[in-house]
């Protein structure tokens, strides 16, 4: 029997109804979108989207495409994890993409080899100082430090000067991009050490993304930290009256978001074997879109890491679906914009429906 009757005035309460998590809807959407591309592929270009159609490989799925989908979302996905916890606690972070740019430049400049093909590395930033061929821990620590600093500044501004998160992180977005360009006067930085290049090699970005997703899923669900994120995003005044140090928690949340942007920057520059000042442009919007598609509410208090991971997969499927259908890259950008706005519209609808239910 699914129905249990108890509660005030003998309320009827149907356990099976209430326990359907929102992530299930996102998962269904993901499956439907894949099915749609599968169908369109068969009709328009006579090829399968995810299933293997070549005879020389003995697998059911098209593994190359699966890898591309998850690989291309994993780096932005790392940022999306950070942004998810920011949005859940009632904020927003627009600076992540620029922080990626600045962090990639600064970290990469500490990860360069001394000699290229027998000649001194022409691109080495700190060749004169002799800061070349450093152990991999140095650029990693420096990079994480950059991200942490950016996040600390974001969080402190938002918590203690009480300016809206939108403005504080917009300022950081412009400033960090400036830092990225100023660091080498716009020159790209290349030739990283082998150990640094190993961080983002092959499927490493996917491994790092999923490991962080598991870690933050546990953090949000089972620790004081997570509980406070939801509490502050749900009702900041109630959280404050309950004795939660809201200001300190916000600094922590934005600092962690900055750290995750730095992780993304390190993985990205390692994977690309180069860092450029323009790296990470618009990543913050992609990351916000992944979170919102995954059911994270922009008004705070609701959402989960599982949702964001599913949202990032939807994002990746749509982008690679367009490539698969051989549609022009320009269409991709237009559709991306539509996805971002569409996801927010969906969020607003969800909230209206919720409030009309009382």
């Amino acid at each position: 029997m699914a129905q249990t009757t108890f509660g005030v005035g003998g309320l009827t309460y149907d356990h099976s109804k209430r326990h359907m998590p929102q992530e299930l809807n996102v998962l269904i959407a993901l499956v439907l979108i894949i099915a749609a591309f599968e169908l369109l592929g068969r009709i328009l270009i006579g090829d399968s989207f995810l299933l293997n159609t070549r005879d020389n490989v003995d697998t059911i799925f098209n593994q190359a495409r699966l890898q591309i989908i998850i690989l291309q979302v994993s780096i932005v996905g790392i940022i999306a994890i950070g942004i998810t916890q920011v949005i859940i606690s009632g904020g927003i972070d627009l600076s992540a993409g620029s922080v990626v740019g600045a962090t990639a430049m600064i970290a990469m400049s500490f990860a360069q080899v001394a000699m290229v093909n027998g000649n001194p590395n022409p691109k080495a930033v700190f060749l004169e100082q002799g800061w070349v061929d450093l152990p991999v821990i140095v650029p990693v620590i420096v990079g994480l430090g950059c991200g942490l600093l950016a996040g600390l500044i974001n969080g402190s501004l938002i918590a203690y000067t009480k300016i809206p998160p939108f403005i504080a992180t917009l300022g950081m977005m412009v400033t960090a991009r400036g830092v990225a360009k100023w660091w080498t006067k716009g020159e790209p930085i290349s030739f990283p050490t082998e150990s640094f290049a190993g961080i983002g090699k092959g499927l490493m970005p996917v491994v790092i993304f999923l490991a962080l997703a598991v870690l933050f899923h546990l953090m949000l669900k089972y620790t004081l930290y997570g509980k406070r994120c939801y509490a502050i995003g749900s009702n900041e005044e109630a959280a404050r009256m309950s004795g939660i140090n809201v200001e300190r928690h916000k600094v922590l949340v934005y600092s962690i978001a900055g750290l995750l942007a730095a992780v993304a920057a390190i993985v990205l520059s390692s994977k690309n074997l180069t860092a450029q000042a323009g790296m990470g442009v618009m990543y913050e919007l992609d990351a916000i879109a992944m979170a919102v598609i995954g059911g994270v509410s922009l008004s705070g208090g609701r959402g989960s890491i599982i949702g964001t991971v599913l949202g990032s997969l939807i994002f990746g499927v749509i982008i690679s679906g367009f490539t698969f259908l051989k549609l022009d890259a320009y269409y991709q950008e237009m559709v991306k914009g539509a996805i971002i706005v569409g996801a927010v519209v969906l969020d607003v609808w969800r909230q209206r429906r919720r409030s009309s239910r009382g």
């Binding site: 939801y230 749900s234 009702n235 922590l252």
Partner: protein
């Protein structure tokens, strides 16, 4: 002296030109339940907001538990031992019942500073026990507060207060939005508190409820305390007369 839990002397609050609370002298003894009555805008809620640190008073003195106090915020009042249920409930809509009950004082399984692991099972069991003790029934502890009726939310807020109350409980119209059965539940909670000897200040418009639950009735009118009545020495008509201003009491007697 030590018999008095809360005492105010000349407590005054002005909002700009509005004198919302004027020269309030009030005393609450250990184990005593006192009702504050009065018309809308009489200064009842203003009085409570000064005691609980939600607002800073314009002038006057407050003693709590034998010490003169001046709370900088509601948190300080709570740390000192004053628990309040306000008309706006201070619950987090997106959290479930145990999380709301333990908001800000979560049980910890393993201490890692801000990343401490929560004792979810312990909090759930403690919540079940607290709700059982206060006879509050909630269909599903795991669902968010957002999905609950006004009465259920009120019960959660009151259960929280009753669970953690240390020295003084204040309830600001706890049953204003509730149905008959839910009101009875809240009144039962109040009776339990009385049996446990916990002092309470109850703001209410409900005459039957007030005569049912408290020892003493303090009437506010136009920002002033106009009457201080022992329950046995008064009746509903008498109280209404003070509320509407048809009758006034000698202020020297009120200070008793």
């Amino acid at each position: 002296m030590s018999d008095i839990v809360l005492k105010t002397e000349g407590l005054t609050k002005h909002y700009g030109g509005v004198h919302a609370l004027v020269d309030a002298n009030f005393e609450l003894r250990r184990g005593e339940h006192v009702a504050i009555m009065g018309d809308n805008g009489a200064g009842k809620s203003t009085f409570v907001r000064q005691i609980t640190g939600v607002e800073r008073r314009t002038s006057g003195k407050v003693w709590f538990d034998g010490q003169e106090v001046d709370f900088a915020g509601p948190l300080h009042a709570r740390e000192a031992g004053i628990e309040a249920v306000f008309q706006n409930l201070a619950l987090a809509d997106d959290l479930d019942v145990p999380s709301n009950l333990f908001l800000g004082r979560e049980k910890i399984l393993f201490n890692l500073g801000p990343f401490s692991i929560l004792d979810r099972k312990g909090m759930r069991q403690a919540t079940e026990a607290a709700l059982k003790r206060t006879a509050v029934k909630i269909p599903n502890l795991g669902s968010t507060i957002r999905n609950m009726s006004g009465g259920q939310r009120q019960c959660v807020a009151i259960a929280r207060t009753a669970t953690f109350a240390s020295k003084l409980i204040i309830m600001d119209e706890p049953t204003a939005a509730l149905g008959v059965q839910e009101t009875a539940q809240v009144e039962n909670i109040v009776r339990t508190l009385k049996d446990n000897g916990e002092p309470l200040i109850l703001i209410s418009h409900n005459m039957r409820q007030v005569f049912d639950l408290v020892d003493r009735i303090v009437v506010f009118r136009r920002g002033r305390i106009v009457a201080n009545l022992r329950k046995e020495e008064t009746d509903g008509q008498d109280v209404v007369a003070y509320i509407t201003g048809a009758k006034t009491q000698n202020m020297a007697a009120a200070a008793l």
